[in-house]
Symmetry: C2
Subunit: 97 residues, 2 copies
Amino acid sequence: MNNEITKKYRKRSEIIKALGHPTRIFIMDFLANGEKTAGEIVEKVGADKSTVSKHLSVMKNAGLVENEKRGLNVFYKLTCACILNLFTCLESIEKRD
Amino acid sequence: MNNEITKKYRKRSEIIKALGHPTRIFIMDFLANGEKTAGEIVEKVGADKSTVSKHLSVMKNAGLVENEKRGLNVFYKLTCACILNLFTCLESIEKRD
DNA sequence: TAGTTAATTGGTTAATTTGTCAACAAGCAA
DNA sequence: TTGCTTGTTGACAAATTAACCAATTAACTA
């Protein structure tokens, strides 16, 4: 596992780690319906707004979502809906247990 | 995010977290070529055998791999090659940055 | 300008994850 | 049985992640 390779795998794992939290997966699913404001996400998740904001920040840094400020609101949306296909695959793994 | 839902998302995140480490992604790629012994994986990864063994244990608990002891060796293989499709999707996210 | 709403950031604490070394268990062979 | 090889487990320290509250910033409105 040489250095060039580890760089590649580190980058991948950053993205995957950003997906690896129940709240963040929930947010991915929620955003599959279209863009939402941070406030709408906070309400849907039901956690402290600072907690949710930090989750969104992790997701944005990983490139899972992008955001845009319009007026007082910040709108979030998925950068790549293809990630949702992963969930289908996960279900087939879940069923094996 | 009610209780029934969180159970679903917790299970998903367990699987994803098991993928969210550079070494473990590397192992997934390595196993895409077919089953390998723990020793072969240790050599390829280049880390302590106990470290690799624990990574394999995390992956197995999540259902990403399965193993079988034959003689002195323990052979590991992917339970579901479909996970590899995820990596294609990740590349498209990586390219956006 | 002062006030209000929406969202992010900083600081702190608790929990989880990772890596390493040493000890152990299982299977084989002399 | 004794010893060798392969792999897993336990204990511990270091690093990372997560949640919460308080303070702050940004954009609008009266």
